[in-house]
């Protein structure tokens, strides 16, 4: 539980976005939550709590730009409290909330009320995104100026594309004057239809309606063209195919103001991992073939993918227990993302903590106009302690989210977040 005492983190190794190497050091955080000293062999003030890191890694807090917290309106799936608890267990110290609550956040007043709820119920900072169109219905522009004045970090119809290119164009033209980031869920509904998984060999074998790759690729191309035409800033969510990524790369080379994100599940799972109609693997965009996954990992490393974002999308186990075709898309991700990235990549030497910090801490903060956080003297404490020898069991009992739905359920991931520091508060993770 958070309490205002100084804390000395001993025998840690500090990770940063700037260096592959970890810096062996102690870190002293005072009772106001400021990092006051960094270095080996620090002496603790008399009233300080000592935390032995045991050689564990101290990592700047992660920031996730794609989170559905479900409150207000769908508290049976998740609440702001359970969502922030899940984030802290995953080393995530800030998020952007999607506006697809009930009611959808499409006016300044609703942003205000969302911010009040966050202040009251969440343990971590959460930025509330606003809708592009009223009620996310894709028919009329939402109230941009009111939402801008309440500080929305981005506008998006969250899990829905704006079907009409003319309306999308006007939204971008209008958003440009407020310097608002337009965020797209890349999908062509007329192509994805009632699809449940990637269209191809696997969908044929399962006898499930498929979502063709072109339904995302055409949307990416369209949205980039409209952004180029209007000069709006564009962020593309959940890139899932090699060709889609190619389009983003071309646009960047042409100087377009476009960024994109990928999810951990699209980096580590393929359509082949879907077994026995397990709906925990049902995502939109769907899991793709191995060749796409390889291209995404390459793009994640070379920087053509800017941001890692988990698309935390809780649904109850009951909702996910219906047949594959009608089960909802998405799974919880906040508390598994860092352990999954460590287990699958960092531990195996594919890349280091520096890259993960760039993609999941620094870049996402910059994307929404925040300064990146670092473990440095004089900075506000915002980091977590990661034990590379520890284990993260992904089970119903251990998960903090209200909806223990995850493609990693039943796995024990190598590495564990032992606790998260946010200012003067220390949240140890059992």
């Amino acid at each position: 539980m958070p309490s205002a005492t100084p804390r000395l983190f001993q025998n840690g190794r500090i990770a940063s976005a700037d260096s592959k190497d970890l810096l062996a050091s102690d870190v002293l955080v005072d009772e106001t939550g400021t990092i006051v000293a960094i270095g080996p062999g620090l002496t603790a003030p008399a009233d300080a709590e000592l935390i032995d890191c045991g050689g564990g890694v101290l990592v700047p807090g992660m920031f996730d730009v794609h989170v559905h917290a479900r409150e207000p309106g769908q508290e049976h799936k998740e609440t702001l409290a359970t969502c922030s608890a899940a984030a802290l267990r995953g080393g995530v110290t800030g998020v952007v909330l999607m506006p697809d609550t009930s009611p959808p956040v499409d006016t300044g007043n609703l942003v205000k009320s969302a911010r009040d709820l966050i202040a009251e119920l969440s343990a971590i900072p959460m930025l509330q995104a606003g809708c592009l169109t009223k009620g996310r219905e894709g028919k009329e522009m939402a109230g941009f100026s009111g939402m801008a004045s309440r500080g929305v970090p981005m506008l998006t119809d969250a899990d829905r594309a704006v079907p009409c290119p003319d309306l999308l164009r006007r939204c971008m033209e209008y958003a440009r004057d407020f310097d608002l980031l337009v965020t797209s869920h890349c999908d062509t509904p007329a192509l994805s239809k009632a699809g449940a998984i990637n269209e191809g060999r696997v969908s044929y074998r399962f006898g499930l309606p498929g979502i063709p790759a072109i339904s995302q690729e055409i949307a990416i191309d369209r949205d980039i063209r409209v952004a180029q035409h209007t000069g709006a800033k564009l962020h593309l969510q959940q890139i899932s195919t090699a060709r889609g990524l190619q389009s983003v790369q071309c646009a960047k080379e042409a100087g377009t103001s476009v960024t994109c994100e990928v999810s951990p599940h699209h980096l580590v799972l393929t359509e082949q991992d879907i077994r026995d109609y397990n709906t925990h693997f049902k995502f939109h965009p769907p899991l793709r073939p191995a060749a796409d996954v390889e291209a995404l990992v390459a793009g994640f490393i070379d920087g053509s993918i800017d941001v890692l974002a988990c698309d935390h999308a809780p649904h109850t186990e009951f909702e996910k227990s219906s047949e594959f075709g009608s089960a909802p898309f998405g799974a919880a991700g906040l508390e598994t993302t860092v352990p999954v990235m460590f287990d699958r990549f960092i531990r195996k030497g594919v890349f280091g903590w520096d890259l993960l910090i760039k993609r999941y801490s620094a870049s996402p903060r910059r994307l929404v106009g925040l300064a990146p956080v670092a473990i440095a003297e004089g900075a506000r404490a915002e980091f977590f302690l990661f034990d590379p020898e520890g284990e993260t069991p992904v089970t119903r009992e251990t998960m903090k989210t209200k909806s223990p739905v995850s493609p990693f359920l039943g796995e024990t991931l190598v590495g564990k977040v032992r606790g998260t520091v946010l200012g003067a508060a220390w949240y140890p993770q059992g």
């Binding site: 044929y204 074998r205 006898g207 499930l208 009951f318 047949e323």
Partner: protein, 312 residues
Amino acid sequence: MRDLKPRKDLLDIEGLELPEIEYVLSNAVPFKQLFQRSVKKVPTLRGKTVLNLFYEPSTRTSSSFEVAANRMSADVTNFTVSSSSVVKGESLLDTIETLQAMRSDYIVIRHQAAGVPNIVAKHTGASVINAGDGYHAHPTQALLDAMTFREVCPDYQGRKMVIVGDVLHSRVARSTSTLFHKLGIEVGVLGPGTLIPSGRHEFIRRFRSWDEVFDWKPDAVYLLRVQLERQEGMFFPSIAEYHKMYGMNTERLVRMRQIGAYLMHPGPVNRGVEITDEAMRYERSLISTQVENGIAVRMAVLHWLKPETDTD
């Protein structure tokens, strides 16, 4: 024969081992011979209960299972749920719980959504037999097709069959082609490009015209039912054009006779669409044999599966 691993459910063809397939197909033969006797019943499943759970209307398959179960002396309950009466609030798991309370030994299930039999099987001790789920699988249809084909071609390995029509949306095509491939029978497909899942099953030969098909000299031609309600004008321009391009008509019947090919169809047929009235009377049509073999194969499947409700 009896060193097969006991199997609880029949959900699809993919998961079956060749000895299991042989076991079922060879057991179906004596069951079929029973049909010639005045007493067609065996006491094998006396005291056992079979629940026929149909979420999609299907008189043929449901009756076939009912007759099969009756001839095995099981008690049969038919439960037809018209999709409109499925209350939105009652989930699949709720339904399964209700079914559990009925303590059936076998559940025969047809559902419009792929994967439903898999979910039911996971939650019940009863043997689940998939009687067709969405576009996914229809394993007993595949087994009866194999039985029918092997009766007319006892040296079936290396023989050839062509499936004609909407392969993309057909659970029959999926299961039957998978089973025939396992048995070493070559499979080809003919149909409009919109309804053939191209490049997804390399072992299947794709034809673009009847001329190509007849040049290949298949031993059987398997016509699929055109799902008239499914087309929405998106997959081919009109029924008339489909009939002209892919239907079994008089001229094609002449070619069928020349190469001595058999004609199969899973039923019910759309006369005038995939098949003409004349073709229905084709002397090498196996359509009614398929229906008869369906009962024998389903008896063999009931005989083979081992429900976890068995305590003796």
